[in-house]
């Protein structure tokens, strides 16, 4: 892998040892583990972390979702019978769950295209601007680095019944107001998340734009292509792989929605118009003590996201995949 010639003599020794390591010999055990077996020790904390905090819980989630599982005091042994798909049936037949999936659908339909479009347009402009570049860049990622809880406070203030937004709209202000209107609550949440996350996606697009060679733009303008032609025929295809990534990440972020419906619309109101699946997982699993149902909901949500992601990859990725 790394240049064998660089280390001269020892390299040949090691290569020879590598070939012979099928016969166990004490002298060669070191080579069996590689040239720097200490690498295993260096990786150990990370590997233990991944196995303990990510891999094991992942399997545990699936286990919980197929069993009659409930909370117990630490160390208490109880019987947790296998119940097959019961938890999944409970989840699927719950109207609140169906509603929350529909809500997420509304959210994604608004949030994802808006995120992809706006972040590409702003990144493209930001890439070419010469004055105030740093100022623009910083102001775009400030919402992204700020806690949702903090900015939720000011959005509540802006979008309340007699808030600044409605004051500006005057007679056009919706009644009931944005976050208490069952038609507008989810779109307002989607708008909030778009605003909050856009800076991160602008940074991703900025990185992708660096890969488009300038010659393409030069020859296009020699051929008389205007800015729009250049944007559609050079920029958009040139950042296609970034577009796939932005679409997938925006979808995954959207599926994880919790803080915004919890705080912006007071727990998914009005009348469940803005509940999200993760909010229901919290409600069912932890507040109502049905972790098995919540785990099944989590598994279904992830499967749903994977399916959407596959479709999106086809749609956005075009023929190259």
């Amino acid at each position: 892998m790394s240049l064998p010639s660089a280390d001269g003599g020892p390299a040949t020794l090691v290569t020879a040892g590598h070939r012979a390591d099928r016969q166990p010999a004490p002298r060669k055990r070191k080579n069996f583990l590689g040239r720097q077996p200490l690498g295993l020790l260096f990786s150990a904390p990370y590997v233990i972390y991944i196995l303990g905090v990510l891999a094991y819980p992942l399997g545990y989630a699936v286990y919980i979702s197929f069993h009659d599982f409930f909370f117990t005091a630490p160390g208490v042994q109880v019987d947790r019978p296998f119940v097959g798909l019961d938890n999944y049936i409970t989840v699927l037949s719950d109207p609140a769950v169906q509603r929350s999936f529909a809500n997420i659908g509304v959210f994604l339909v608004i949030n994802v295209p808006l995120t992809v479009g706006l972040s590409l347009i702003l990144a493209n402009a930001l890439n070419r601007v010469t004055r105030l570049k740093t100022f623009f860049r910083v102001s775009y990622y400030v919402p992204y680095v700020t806690a949702s809880v903090a900015v939720v406070g000011v959005w509540l203030f802006l979008f309340q019944q007699d808030g600044l937004v409605n004051a500006l709209l005057g007679p056009l202000a919706p009644n009931p107001s944005w976050l208490t209107n069952s038609w507008l609550a989810m779109p307002t949440v989607a708008l909030f998340v778009t605003w909050k996350q856009l800076g991160f996606f602008i940074l991703l697009y900025l990185a992708a734009l660096q890969n488009i060679p300038d010659e393409l733009y030069e020859s296009a303008s020699v051929d008389g292509g205007n800015k729009w032609v250049q944007f559609w025929n050079i920029t958009v295809p040139g950042v296609r792989s970034a577009s796939v990534l932005v679409t997938l990440l925006a979808t995954i972020t959207g599926a994880n929605l919790f803080t915004e419906p919890y705080l912006l619309t007071g727990g998914g109101g009005p009348d469940g118009a803005s509940t999200s699946p993760v909010f229901l997982m919290y409600q069912k699993g932890i507040l109502q003590g049905n972790p098995d149902v919540a785990a099944a909901l989590g598994v279904m949500l992830v499967i749903g996201v994977l399916l959407i992601a596959l479709i999106q990859k086809r749609l956005v990725g075009g023929k190259e995949d």
Binding site: L33, G34, L40, A61, V129, G153, L158
Partner: protein
Amino acid sequence: MSTLNKAAAPNDENHGDDDGVSVRRRRRLPGTSGPGKTAGVEKRRNLGAGSFALLALGAFVFLFPFYYMFIGSLQTSPDTSVAGAFPDPSNVTGENYTNINNSIDLLKGLANSGIFTGGVIFFTVVFGLLVGYALAQMQFRGKGLVFGMMLLVQMVPFQLLLIPLYVMIVRDYGLADTYLGMILPFAINSTAVFVFRQYFLQLPSTLFEAARIDGASELRILWQIAIPLVKPAIVTAILLTFIGPWNEFLWPFLVTKDQSIQPLAVSLANYISNIAATASNPFGAILAGACVLAAPAVALFIFFQRQFISTNIGSSVKG
């Protein structure tokens, strides 16, 4: 594609000033060249007034809520009219900060957020540097497996882990209301590990071979040679890691019931959803708390904005 980008990144910086003109003629490097350098080189691709207005409008939309948050936090009585967006000396007070501080201990909340975030950053930097170095400059059995795990992990959705982690950490291990319970699920940020590996990979392997031949131990090579060369990576990784726990709400909200250990994001959220209704000027107090929660993150990122640029993020996410 992505390797091209990575290979290009260090060159961009090297060519920055000395032979910049010749390089720019062939291939302009918009991301890394500063404002002054590109001016006038290629008028064709300079920005029209429309695009500049678009950028300015964007900046307004992104920044105005922050300005309004600050103005609102200083108002004696909330003024939601258009005039309220401008400071009014007769309506300015620091009382909201006192009020929120009486309901939730702001300093304690900040300290808890700091311990939570600091713990995650500590584990990420210590163990991330070790595994990042091993993945980049050491040959050992199972290396491919560790690398594959690191990539896979970044795709595991947190909502799937929510219930089992809650069962394990809160119920089985009894780590509710502890800092460890908060930190554990986030302890080592895999994106930061990836950033470390990328930076270590850019160092010439001959450097390390030579040190090994001279008999230096791996730990000493890492500490005395490798780490001093990747200081920018450490800053980038700390910034990347910081955003997660400082802003995280759901997990610390689930594991902490005791207010004296809650990070500020959690205690402020509880204030918004429970107590605010009974306060005399709830929005003033909420916005004051929001300013306190937002200020450290915003200040940090403005101060280190150079380290938080597209190439760093791009290489870390694209793989």
